[in-house]
């Protein structure tokens, strides 16, 4: 019965009420759209990072520390037998790292040289270009780094490195292919060549720095090697997106605040303007708790109607975003954001939608209820005269 009354009161109410419902629906929409953007980004980015770099996880030779370039020279060891088996079966690949120097246009540049099996197909790196047919050393480089070095496909660059005994050697290598990726960890400041070639150059046959494996659940322990699962490998991304999300939570708070304001406005206004109505209801024998219920429910119904209104324009709009993607309009790499394509395809899970709806509903219920406590203090005669006590 209360429900029916509340419903009638809202449907019969004026423009201002509908404006408030619209504002509420906007806050649902903005929160869901923004969240979908970040979920989409995270999904995209982590998929790209797995495809290009991490696959199902990695083993790192225990001295290897990506944040300390001085460890690089010593970060190599013989591949454990079990992992070697996986490599043979195509379930894993080994990668050897070495510090090196290149001289593009006679300038000196310190880089990381990475050796990878040209026949691998575990990660998306186009390693087939690394086969060295005519006794040349072929390398592949990411497009971002190539631009940075101001060289192009087909160019030769001078490479200088030190073998395991500390002896320097140098050679011209050919930029056989330039690949384009969104994953910075396989692009920035590094050059890829064939693994056997690198092993020979360094005098480190059958050694590796990291071993990338296909199976996410594989986590056998090997001494001298540390298993890094995907949670660990993706933590930078997760943290970065979290940081961005927190930045955007100011936006949520703003939207929620707007929603609260819309409801509070409606509620306070109606409680002050409709005192006489309440007095009449009291005179007819409606109890105070029932009247409080009625007014609270009216507030909550605003939020429910806002869901419907938001759905009317929100679902087509969100679908549209999902189909064409959101144009970000900036060079993501410049910002150091891995895995961010030009267009981002937001993802709207039911958890996100339901979560947002519940969040807004709870907020609205509380904000609706607060002003109604005034009703409890209202004397019927004062209410009838349109007066507010206390």
């Amino acid at each position: 019965m209360i429900f029916k009354l509340a419903y009638k009161n809202i449907i019969g109410a004026g423009f201002r009420t509908w404006l408030n419902i619209f504002i509420l629906s906007l806050s649902y929409f903005v929160i869901i759209a923004l969240q979908g953007f970040y979920v989409g980004w995270q999904d995209d980015a982590s998929r790209e990072m797995k495809n290009w770099d991490f696959a199902g996880g990695q083993y790192w030779q225990e001295t290897y520390d990506p944040y300390d370039p001085y460890t690089l020279e010593d970060s190599h060891a013989a591949i454990p037998e079990d992992l070697q088996k996986l490599i043979v079966e195509g379930e894993a690949i080994s990668i050897l790292f070495s510090p090196a120097t290149i001289y593009p246009e006679r300038r000196m540049r310190n880089i990381v040289l990475k050796g990878i099996d040209p026949d691998q197909n575990l990660v998306e790196l186009p390693t087939k270009y690394l086969a060295d047919p005519d006794n040349e050393i072929n390398c592949i480089i990411g497009s971002g780094f190539v631009d940075n070095l101001n060289i192009k496909e087909g160019d030769y660059i001078v490479l200088r490195w030190r073998d395991k005994n500390g002896t320097y050697d140098a050679r011209d290598i050919k930029v056989a292919h330039v690949f384009s990726t969104t994953v910075l960890t396989v692009e920035s400041n590094q050059i890829w060549i064939s693994l056997p070639t690198l092993q020979e150059m360094l005098g480190l046959p059958n050694e590796a720095t990291i071993i990338t494996i296909k199976d996410e659940t594989y986590n056998k322990e090997f001494s001298g090697w540390q298993h890094k699962d995907l949670d660990f490998l993706l933590i930078d991304l997760t943290n970065m997106i979290k940081a961005k999300t927190i930045g955007s939570s100011i936006m949520y708070i703003l939207m929620l605040f707007l929603a609260m304001l819309a409801i509070f406005d409606t509620q306070v206004l109606s409680i002050f303007r409709r005192r006489k109505e309440m007095g009449t209801m009291m005179a007819m024998g409606m109890t105070r708790p029932k009247i409080i219920q009625l007014f609270t429910l009216e507030g909550v119904l605003h939020a429910v109607l806002a869901i419907l209104m938001g759905a009317v324009y929100g679902i087509p709009l969100l679908n549209h975003f999902q189909k064409v993607g959101m144009q970000i309009g900036m060079d993501a790499k410049e910002w150091g954001l891995s895995g961010l394509n030009d267009a981002l395809y937001p993802v709207y899970g039911w958890k996100l939608v339901v979560g947002t709806i519940i969040l807004v509903l709870i907020t609205v219920t509380v904000v609706s209820f607060l002003p109604t406590r005034k009703i409890a203090k209202l004397k019927p005669t004062d209410a009838l005269r349109g007066k507010m006590t206390k």
């Binding site: 009638k8 019969g12 009449t280 009291m282 005179a283 105070r288 004397k379 005669t381």
Partner: protein
């Protein structure tokens, strides 16, 4: 002998005003029996509305006892008072007090919803009440679309639709023309005779006075005269 419905003893009502108080009703002793058709008359400010509000448990007296259908008004919790009003009392206000977003039908239906009546029964009772007040054709209108007199008739229909034991009417004919006033008064009189509904009016209206059986005159918050009229 008719049964005693309302008993007021040495009742005084003070309103706080600024730091002091204003005595709106003073030393009232009154009894009302079931089935009365009584008018309270008096100049503006004499305390008519105040008296009706206290009888209807919308307000409480400052001193003395007021007993309505076995309930001591001052001791009544707000929940019990609401129940008393819902089940036994119908109000007609000086200013109609219709609920603006509801149709005429829904306004009249409201007290029945509070009583938890089934929708079928409600519909029958509402249509009957609208017929009494001659507004059957306006059931779907909203209060804003009605004239003052029509609003007053809706308010009357709303008060009598549940066939309460007691109807408290504050100037019910103030906005009605002669024809409508007589029609309404006859309707109330018929309810009073057929169902034994007790009516207490406040009024200035000579037309109402000719229907009354008892006339109580208030003057400055005191009972000035209490007389049987029109042969009782």
């Amino acid at each position: 002998m008719k049964k005693e419905l309302i008993k007021i003893e040495k009742m005084t009502k003070n309103y706080p005003i600024g730091g002091g108080k204003f005595t709106a009703l003073r030393d009232i002793d009154l009894e009302f029996k079931k089935g009365e058709f009584t008018g309270i008359v008096g100049p503006s400010g004499s305390g008519k509305t105040t008296l009706l509000n206290i009888i209807g448990s919308l307000d409480t007296q400052s001193e003395g006892d007021v007993n309505v259908m076995g309930n001591s008004i001052r001791k009544l919790s707000s929940k019990k008072a609401a129940k008393l009003r819902s089940q036994h009392i119908g109000f007609i206000f000086q200013t109609y007090n219709l609920l603006p977003v509801y149709t005429v039908f829904e306004n009249v239906e409201f007290p029945l919803i509070l009583l938890g009546m089934s929708s079928e029964k409600r519909k029958k009772a509402v249509l009957e009440a609208l017929e009494w007040v001659g507004l059957s054709d306006k059931a779907k209108s909203r209060p804003a679309q009605l004239s003052g007199g029509e609003c007053q008739r809706v308010a009357i229909a709303r008060a009598i639709v549940k066939k309460p034991d007691l109807v408290l009417a504050d100037e019910p004919t103030a906005n009605l023309d002669a024809e409508n006033s007589h029609h309404i008064l006859k309707t109330m009189k018929k309810l009073n005779e057929d169902l034994g509904t007790t009516f207490i009016f406040s009024t200035h209206d000579a037309k109402v006075i000719q229907y009354l059986r008892r006339k109580i005159s208030l003057l400055d918050g005191k009972v000035d005269k209490d007389e049987i009229v029109n042969g009782g």
